[in-house]
């Protein structure tokens, strides 16, 4: 069951993989546009455009949107992140052509009714405020902004409130027209389908959409950080949080997989599926930081985050201080554990365990056609789908020396940002 790749004349890349395990089909339509492509004044526009693309289109009147995929027992959704925007439907296989119709409409024919824009403005501000209710999310946002001075990875995907309040319908529509062209997209179809039929159906639905200009986007590379950065969020709350971020390699950098192995040793293997991995916590109780911080009672939770990205992003360690533990005590314990691995690397046994964990996680996260399709498209937006197919081998090839080199190079004081959420007790 291999991947078939075809290009339509308008430049649309179509990937099809037959999987006959359930009578279902999953469609994902990916765009190489995310919050790193946004200009000042327009932060959050990629995500807002995603929201607008669930409203009416030329051939799907507004009132027909509701239930359009549910009538096939299906599910639809979308997400936007720093490198990509994507839309998905999973439904019974007889809905395939219908799903492709929806995605073709979404690519070329969304309406951006001004009333819908205004109503969605407040929905998105509500989404932003819901996120701000969570101290960990707030700390993550502040740490990311402190880590990048120049590169647009610095601003949150949801955008800054001031931009969300002032952006116009024409800003949104212009951005949509600029980026939603077939030659900036990848269509992925996985499931109980015939590959030839699926490709024909894709050509019929998308073939008449003209290709557009995919402009080269200018981005300022992040200059090297010159020393440790620190920040504090002081806010009323009950619990203290610590987050340490290190500038990390991009997905295609030779250091990426050694660092992924290193993260497994420190906090347990997560896998690499943004859509599925977070649903099951990593096996981490024997991991170094769990032993050093949770089992000693300093932290109630620890997690590591290394996500494949197109350009260098962050490797983060997130900790929740147990009630009564000072952030100073927690910080020195975590930095001590990180410094040990920076100086000495990991052991042969740890390397073996990390590889086993990652192998198992890759099996587990391929358990649905939705997940299989996600991975092909996700990697196509940041590197290539063929790169995804090579990951298992790349992990197996990681050596002790690779891990030691990556740890020594990346886990330095001058490469990190330390963020603290210090709860201030309320007046009442």
């Amino acid at each position: 069951m291999g991947v078939r790749e075809e290009f339509l004349d308008n430049g649309l890349r179509v990937l099809v993989q037959e999987e006959h395990t359930a009578p279902l089909a999953s469609v994902w339509c990916w765009y190489r546009v995310g919050s790193k492509d946004e200009l000042p004044g327009l932060t959050g526009i990629s995500h807002w455009v995603e929201h607008m693309n669930f409203k009416g289109t030329t051939n799907i009147p507004r009132e027909k949107v509701k239930g359009i995929i549910e009538q096939y027992g299906g599910y639809w959704n979308g997400y936007t992140w720093i490198d990509q925007t994507t839309y998905t439907e999973t439904a019974t296989r007889d809905a395939l052509d219908h799903m492709l119709f929806i995605e073709a409409e979404r690519m070329a024919s969304c309406l951006y009714d001004p009333a819908d824009v205004e109503s969605e403005r407040t929905v998105i501000i509500s989404e932003l405020q819901g996120g701000e209710n969570d101290p960990e999310q707030l700390l993550d946002q502040e740490l990311t902004a402190a880590a990048f001075h120049a590169h647009p990875y610095r601003h949150p995907t949801i955008g800054w409130l001031g931009d969300l309040q002032t952006m116009t319908r024409d800003d949104l529509y212009g951005y949509y027209r600029q980026h939603y062209v077939p030659n900036n997209a990848t269509l992925v179809i996985v499931g109980d389908v015939d590959a030839d039929d699926a490709l024909k159906s894709a050509a019929r639905r998308f073939g008449s959409i003209p290709g557009g200009e995919v402009s080269k986007r200018r981005r300022t590379p992040e200059p090297q950080q010159l020393g440790e950065r620190r920040l504090t969020v002081s806010k009323e709350g009950t619990t203290a949080y610590l987050k340490v971020g290190y500038h990390a390699p991009a997905a295609t950098d030779p250091d990426f997989f050694p660092l992924l192995v290193l993260d497994s040793v420190l906090t347990g293997a997560k896998g690499l599926n943004l859509w599925a991995s977070f649903r099951t916590p990593p096996p981490q109780r024997s991991a170094r930081l769990y032993q050093a911080l949770v089992n000693t009672g300093l932290a109630s939770a620890v997690s590591g985050g290394l996500v494949p990205t197109q350009e260098p992003f962050l490797y983060t360690l997130s900790l929740t201080a147990t009630d009564g533990t000072s952030l100073d005590a927690l910080e020195s314990a975590v930095l001590e554990a990180v410094d040990l691995v920076r100086r000495q690397g990991v052991t042969e046994q740890e390397l073996r365990k990390a590889k086993t964990q990652l192998r198992a996680r890759f099996v587990f996260e391929q358990d649905s056609i939705t997940n299989v399709a996600h991975q092909l498209g996700f990697f196509e937006t940041i590197a290539s789908w063929r790169y995804f197919l090579s990951i298992a081998d790349r992990i197996q090839a990681v050596t002790l020396e690779d891990v030691a080199r990556a740890a020594a190079a990346r886990l330095t004081a001058s490469n990190r940002v330390i963020g603290r959420f210090e709860p201030v007790s309320g007046a009442s």
């Binding site: 239930g67 549910e70 439904a91 109503s119 096996p283 089992n295 109630s300 365990k353």
Partner: protein
């Protein structure tokens, strides 16, 4: 239309009373183990709120023959995460492992379920984690709103009204002996069912379970009957100001029926129309799509062994709290007065029936489905019968369900967040 051929799972009861549910699939070389015990928070003794939750956090931290570190090493070295969770009625031990590791992992899980020792040092460390969780909960408007709503609907002593994670006071007070007693009282083969789904033949699933658990003999635990909910006397509104937050959480609800009630399917469809279908049903149309007031709004129905709640949720800015609650009132009153339309009922039936293949796509999905069917006695062919159970429901039955439940004058309404107004 796709014809669903049916799961046809295997169900086998061992001589000691343990129920095995098995289904072979070939999607991945992996097996999902989904074990349940009738050991939920409903079995917390009086004044011991949070005991079952405490057990769930310490059960796998040492057995008669393994230390916590040994258990961690055996699981981690196979890439396996064992999740132990608890709800009102059951404690669940769940993991997925590679097929090649199945025998070993099941044997380890048996050791954890049958022979935990709750080492004193582990109990103290996990107590600190639970206290931290409770402190985080106090700062989380959604959790504050939901816990307050459940206490208002059911009262302080009803199993559905008590705090599942306990209180700072109850967690500080509980001892290692309390944990051991709870385990001794509630964990027994007659109170256990295990679903094994994946790359594993059913007869092997039964044989390996027999070899791990077959020798386990205990007296059957006593059953606890969940009482009916107290009557709702008028509308009860509570505002819990949390001025450090950006958004207010609204939790608005009623008590309803038991899962085994014959009216369940009418209630299910009513809830789907009200607050689920296509991004939040009628509530989503009004509050999110038309008025742009909330990123999320929906309703959920949790009919269980006891009469569970129907709860409407929304997250809104403080300026919109009153308008959002008024809109919920309005949508509920309208559905109660007029009932759903023919088209709405047909669409919800079509959706719930048509989504069965998705529900049963993954091993974890199948295992969850099998355990739900087992808990409520729905039968091995429930996946095939569900369509007709839904299909037979009439418009009048759904309307009757709406009339019986959705009365704003008898609702409990809780708002937690940066709002201190005088909501009615």
């Amino acid at each position: 239309m796709i014809t669903h051929r049916g799961l046809s799972p295997t169900r086998h009861v061992l001589a000691n009373g343990l129920t095995v549910l098995a289904k072979e699939t070939r999607t991945t070389p992996a097996v999902t183990i989904y074990a349940g015990f009738h050991a939920g928070t409903a079995y917390d003794p009086p004044a011991c709120d949070g005991l079952a939750f405490f057990v769930s956090k310490t059960l796998d931290r040492g057995t008669a023959s393994r230390t916590a570190d040994q258990i961690a090493e055996e699981l981690d070295s196979r890439g396996v995460t064992l999740s132990i969770s608890v709800n009102r009625h059951a404690m669940w031990l769940v993991c997925t492992c590679l097929t090649e590791d199945f025998d070993h992992v099941l044997s380890l899980m048996g050791d954890i379920a049958m022979q935990p020792v709750f080492p004193a040092a582990e109990v103290e460390t996990r107590r600190g984690e639970i206290v931290t969780l409770l402190r985080q909960d106090q700062d989380n408007p959604a959790t504050v709103a939901m816990e307050t709503l459940m206490r208002t609907l059911y009262g302080e002593t009803h199993p559905y009204g008590r705090r599942m994670r306990g209180t700072l006071e109850s967690v500080e007070r509980m001892t290692r002996n309390d944990l051991q007693q709870f385990h001794a009282r509630r964990f027994a083969p007659q109170a256990m069912s295990i679903a094994l789904v994946g790359d594993l033949a059913p007869d092997r699933a039964v044989a390996v379970t027999e070899s791990v658990f077959g020798g386990w003999q205990k007296a059957p635990p006593e059953d606890v009957v969940v009482n009916g909910a107290p009557p709702a006397n008028g509308r009860r509104v509570q505002v819990l100001p949390m001025m450090n937050k950006a958004q207010a959480d609204v939790a608005y609800g009623f008590t309803t029926i038991r899962r085994q009630d014959p009216q369940y399917y009418a209630y299910w469809l009513m809830n789907n129309i009200l607050g689920q279908y296509a991004l939040g049903g009628r509530l989503g149309d009004s509050i999110r799509e038309r008025q742009g007031m909330a990123y999320y709004t929906f309703s959920s129905l949790d009919a269980s062994l006891g009469p569970g709640p129907l709860i409407v949720r929304a997250g809104v800015s403080p300026a919109n709290v009153e308008r959002a609650v008024a809109s919920i009132d309005e949508e509920l009153a309208k559905l109660a007065a007029e009932g759903p339309t023919d088209r709405e009922l047909a669409e919800s039936k079509q959706y719930l029936t048509g989504s069965m293949p998705r529900t049963l796509e993954t091993n974890a999905g199948i295992a969850t489905f099998l355990q739900t069917a087992e808990l409520f006695g729905l039968g091995l062919d429930y996946d095939l019968r569900q369509a007709s159970l839904l299909g037979e429901v009439t418009l009048e039955q759904v309307h009757a369900a709406a009339r019986a439940v959705l009365d704003p004058a008898r609702a409990a309404v809780v708002v937690a967040g940066p709002y201190s107004g005088s909501l009615q």
